[in-house]
């Protein structure tokens, strides 16, 4: 039975109607990040998590990848599939290169939002990840690359077997709190916008686009 399966693409992809979004660092409890600026231990885990995630995006690691043309699907038909570079420069200060604390030490933490891989996905329009802060304590959100745009050149994905070196496109979000109180709580909602075939609202799945 297993032999009958295509080892490049699963037979059905209907269970992932739309790619989910994953937030880094991964919170320990559900979706709550909490840390204290004055206590580096409280956010060390987050920073490590981010560093781990960004490791594969290092210049060294990306050397073998291709510089793909922007704003177009990077479709491949050849035998050796290659992947597009995702230069960390896009994230500007949030890349962790300049600020190893990712803003946590200064109280304006940075999170990364990545779009889950889905084989063969070709977003229409201009997909971007939009983040809105909600609740009473609003914070200023700045997204990098600007506008949260995800370039089409990272699509489509051809699956682990063919496309092993694939790098996720992602968006960095920095929260800058207006007031300097000791306790800040903010809810952030992010969604994929600008792409008609990805905009699916599903109350049951908070992580859907």
């Amino acid at each position: 039975m297993l032999q009958a399966l295509n080892d490049k693409v699963p037979r059905y992809r209907d269970q992932i109607p739309s790619p989910g979004l994953t937030v880094f660092p991964k919170p320990v409890t559900a979706l709550d990040f909490s840390f204290s600026v004055s206590n580096p231990e409280s956010y060390r885990g987050y920073i490590n998590d981010l560093k781990k995630f960004l490791k594969s995006y290092g210049l060294e690691e990306q050397r073998n990848l291709t510089d793909c043309p922007d704003r177009a699907f990077f479709e491949q038909k050849r035998l050796d599939y290659t992947s597009c570079r995702f230069p960390l420069v896009l994230l500007e200060a949030r890349s962790g290169v300049d600020d190893p604390g990712f803003g946590y030490s200064t109280g304006s933490p940075c999170i990364l939002v990545k779009m889950n891989r889905k084989i063969g996905l070709k977003p229409q329009g201009e997909p971007r990840i939009e983040c809105i802060s909600k609740g009473e304590n609003t914070a200023v959100l700045s997204t990098y690359p600007s506008n949260g745009t995800i370039d089409l050149k990272y699509f489509p994905y051809y699956g682990k077997k063919l496309h092993g070196s694939y790098l996720h496109p992602f968006v960095a979000v920095q929260l800058i709190f207006g007031n300097r109180n000791n306790v800040n709580e903010v809810r952030v909602e992010r969604k994929i916008d600008g792409s008609p075939n990805l905009k699916i609202r599903d109350d049951r799945d908070k992580f859907l686009g």
Partner: protein, 911 residues
């Protein structure tokens, strides 16, 4: 007595003569009892655990899902529904009992308006004079006005009518009894369920899973193992059988009796009325030096003996005229044999016999006017009447006489042969004696008939006969013939006896009759088979004394009550053990109890029939007491477990057959139900051990147990008997349980595992085709269940959010569910038989099975496609092709089972 109007007034004043029913258990208590018995407790625990689990979840994380709450509620709902159902069933059987009471309403013979009237007992009022005879239940609190020889009866009545009304006793016994089955059949299961559950709970905790997870796991194990639907199914199956038996004239009082009946190994049966028709019937005639056989079948239609002889003409005239019995008026349309007659048993027999052969007896009697009569009495031992003849030219009177043959012969000087009177010489007397002994030896009651024409000159038409002074000759009669009567066996009995014999059931006849009659009837119905001999027979054949015969050589035994009285229990045991065909004659009803106890010492399941009040102790003592519906007294009926509405022995055998059938079918149902338990349990074990995402949810399991599987398991109760059902030895009540080891092993380890495997194939297919290969699934459980992991990678590098995974998990549940369901169809088909091939039994004979299969598929379709969008149910719409993945496995199960059955048929006896 009272006048009717006065009685009506009193009735209006005092109300009906009924006892306020004894304080019954309040309905609500009964209801609550159903809620907490047996498995219900387990399920309650499961439900409470669910809610606790939710509490823990909620305190950890406010946004935790409500799944546990749903599950807890569903479990509670299941318990409540099962409870309601069981309660309803019980109420229904109580109602059946009530209707049974109405079927045989208690009547009282009361004197009103100076007439004897039969009124329902509750219509009695103060001041009524009631007549009671032995066997009646005393209809009211009464004062004895006169007691003639009913002293004994009366005392035994007070002994019987202890404050234990049947309804009360029934309502107490029934739930216990009904439960008993499921209890005993399920006790071991329950034990298994708990121990497995607890065991794995400990393992799970020690494997450092979260306690919460372990609790959920424990719930899963409990739900997977408890056959939620079984209680309902068993109750329904038993009720169905009880209904079916009622149609066949066996009214079963407790559901357990159905099942006990099937294991009967000895039936102690009354003779009169049960084995026989309970009416005297002319069996043989002797005239013209010849024995003629009369038809003794139920309708007498086929009288083939030679009726041309002139002797017969005379004999028939005597039979017709020397008879005081008369048909009750107003029965013109009733067949002769069924007409009610005023007169004793022998006269009734003769009246009906002559009516069938000669036509209108009353008309004949009218033409031969009776002028004088001496009725039968025990001193005379004859009956005589004097008639005018119907021949107008013959002015002579005819004196006809019947009576005990030897007394009749004494009064005769001639004998009629071929219509001619001949002197009664020694050789004819010898012929008479031979015939008399022959007929008597058949256990028949023999009557002699003679007549005399009085000379017209001595006895003119105006002659006044005086029966007190006997102013007419009473000797020198002309002997005409003999006629013998017997209470013939019911025509269906010999077949039933043969059936019992092949079914390994021993039949013991217990009767108050004469040993010769008893033996003759036993022989004619086959209780004593044609070629078996009693000790006395052997002695006679070998011409030796009875004491010299080895008792073990004799297969049959006829034991009289007096002999029985002198026996020690050990001797009785030896008698019961060594003789396969036993007839107890001249026994008193009390001795029936001794016989029953003797049989029970042999480890037998004893069924006993009885009708009289005195039979009640024996009926109570027996494993199955069977009371007669027509002739039975109320006391007997209330002591019995079963009532035979037609008093027919053959109905008992039908009952035994039904009992065996339902036992077989319950076994099938249970095997069917147990099989899927493994397929439901394995997912939880694999889930813990191999770390797969949970293959099937608890709610899904409930949908199998209480949804798709219910109708099919009931359908098995409709399964027809296998051909060998009445060729097997009776099952040993203690050894052959409803659930025995082979059944459990075969259900759990063979079919159960195959089924689990098949269901896993469907599960893996779904996951693999969605992107998770089995190798990836291994040990994925922990990551899979982390709510915050929203980029779980599958085998192809795709990333899944936790909700997407959850949805896939539900699809997996649905797939597993469908896998089990498809294979349960095969399971259902193979369970139709135990030994025979399905093709021998016939695939289409039991239509209900197909209803069951259809219901399975339809329910599954509705669950998947109709309710797939309801989150709490955890069902999703499954791709059509997944429904067929398990089909090869289903076929495999079928083939495997056919091979097993073939092996059983080819090598019977081997394990």
């Amino acid at each position: 007595g009272l006048s009717s109007t006065r009685a009506a007034e009193l009735l209006a004043r005092d109300g009906p003569n009924t006892l306020t029913p004894p304080k019954e258990t309040p309905e609500i208590i009964k209801f609550l009892k159903q809620m907490v018995g047996g498995f219900s407790i387990l399920l309650w625990i499961g439900a409470i655990l669910c809610w606790i689990a939710y509490g823990i979840q909620y305190s950890n994380d406010k946004s935790s899902s409500l799944d546990s709450v749903y599950l807890g509620s569903v479990l509670a709902l299941v318990v409540i529904l099962t409870g309601v159902f069981a309660y309803y069933q019980e109420a229904k059987s109580t109602n059946i009992m009530a209707s049974f009471h109405q079927m045989i309403p208690q009547q009282a013979l009361v004197i009103r308006d100076s007439e004897k009237k039969t009124v329902p007992a509750d219509q009695l009022v103060v001041g009524d004079i009631v007549e009671i005879k032995g066997g009646d239940r005393i209809p009211a609190d009464i004062r004895l006005l006169s007691a003639q020889g009913c002293k004994v009866d009366n005392s035994s009545l007070t002994g019987e009518s202890e404050p234990q009304p049947r309804s009360c006793e029934f309502t107490h016994e029934n739930p216990l009894e009904t439960k008993n089955i499921s209890f005993f059949s399920t006790t071991c299961l329950e034990g298994v369920a708990v121990s497995i559950g607890v065991l794995f709970f400990i393992i799970a905790v020690s494997m450092k899973y979260y306690v919460l997870d372990s609790i959920i796991f424990l719930i899963g194990i409990i739900v997977a193992n408890v056959p939620e639907g079984l209680l309902a199914t068993v109750t329904v199956a038993l009720s169905l059988t009880a209904k079916r038996m009622a149609k066949k004239n066996c009214l079963v009082k407790g559901l357990e009796a159905v099942e006990t009946l099937g294991s009967t190994s000895i039936i102690c049966s009354d003779k009169t009325g049960t084995l026989t028709q309970n009416r005297m019937t002319v069996a043989h005639l002797w005239f013209d030096n010849q024995v003629f056989v009369a038809d003794t079948s139920e309708d007498h239609s086929n009288q083939v003996f030679d009726q041309s002889s002139a002797t017969w003409t005379s004999l028939s005239k005597i039979i017709t005229l020397c008879n005081r019995a008369e048909f009750r008026p107003g029965q013109e349309s009733v067949p002769i044999m069924k007409k009610a007659v005023v007169g004793d048993a022998s006269e009734t027999a003769l009246l009906k016999f002559s009516e069938v052969i000669l036509g209108n007896v009353m008309e004949i009697r009218k033409r031969n006017r009776k002028v004088a009569e001496i009725p039968f009495n025990s001193t005379n031992k004859f009956q005589l009447s004097i008639h005018e003849t119907d021949d107008p030219s013959d002015r002579r009177f005819l004196v006809v006489m019947k009576g005990a043959p030897e007394r009749v012969l004494e009064k005769c000087s001639t004998i009629m042969v071929n219509g001619q009177e001949q002197p009664l010489d020694r050789s004819t007397a010898k012929a008479f004696h031979t015939a008399y002994m022959e007929l008597g030896g058949l256990g028949e009651r023999v009557l002699g008939f003679c007549h005399l024409y009085l000379p017209a000159d001595e006895f003119p038409a105006t002659y006044s006969f005086d029966v007190d002074t006997m102013n007419f000759p009473t000797s020198n009669f002309c002997f005409v013939g003999l006629l013998s009567m017997i209470d013939p066996p019911r025509s269906t009995v010999p077949d039933a006896v043969t059936k019992c014999r092949s079914a390994g059931i021993k039949i013991i006849m217990v009767t108050g009759d004469h040993p010769i009659t008893a033996k003759a009837i036993a022989k004619s119905v086959g209780i004593i088979s044609a070629n078996s001999e009693t000790v006395e027979d052997i002695a006679k054949r070998l011409n030796v004394a009875v004491e010299q015969v080895n008792r073990r050589d004799a297969k049959a035994a006829v034991v009289t009550g007096t002999e029985l009285k002198d026996m020690s229990p050990a001797q009785l045991d030896e008698l019961l053990a060594n003789h396969s065909e036993i007839v107890f004659a001249r026994t008193s009803p009390q001795q029936k109890l001794i016989i029953v106890e003797g049989c029970q010492r042999q480890d037998a399941i004893v069924a006993v029939t009885g009708d009289g009040v005195n039979d009640s102790p024996a009926l109570k003592k027996a494993d199955i007491g069977i009371a007669m519906g027509i002739t039975g007294s109320d006391a007997a009926k209330s002591a019995a477990d079963m009532v035979l509405l037609d008093d027919n022995f053959a109905s008992i055998v039908t009952g035994v057959e039904e009992g065996r059938l339902i036992f077989d079918n319950l076994k099938k149902t249970i095997a069917y139900t147990l099989t899927k338990n493994i397929a439901e349990l394995c997912p939880f074990l694999i889930y813990i051990i191999a770390g797969l995402p949970l293959p099937i949810g608890t709610i899904t399991i409930l949908f199998i147990d209480l949804g798709t599987d219910i109708i099919p398991s009931i359908a098995l109760a409709y399964e027809k008997a296998e051909s060998d059902i009445m060729n097997r030895k009776p099952r040993h009540k203690k050894k052959d349980r409803l659930v025995n080891k082979p059944l459990a092993v075969y259900s759990y380890l063979h079919i159960g595992l195959m089924q689990a495997l098949g269901a896993f194939v469907v599960y893996f297919t779904v996951y693999a085709q969605e992107g998770f290969r089995p190798s990836t699934l291994l040990n994925l459980r922990v990551e899979w269940e982390k709510g915050y992991v929203n980029d779980l990678e599958d085998s192809y590098g795709q990333e899944w959010t936790s909700y997407q995974r959850r949805y896939l998990e539900w699809t997996g549940y649905t797939a597993f569910f469908v896998g089990i369901m498809i294979q349960q169809i095969a399971d259902l088909i193979i369970r139709k038989t135990r030994r025979n091939s399905i093709f021998q039994q016939g695939l289409f004979r039991n239509k209900v099975i197909w209803v069951g299969i259809a219901s399975q598929v339809i329910i599954a379709l509705i669950l998947s496609y109709g309710l797939g969008s309801i989150v709490a149910l955890n069902f999703t719409m499954l791709r059509p092709q997944y429904w067929f993945v398990a089909v090869p496995h289903a076929v495999l199960i079928w083939v495997y089972d056919e091979v097993r059955k073939l092996a059983i048929r080819l090598y019977p006896g081997s394990k």
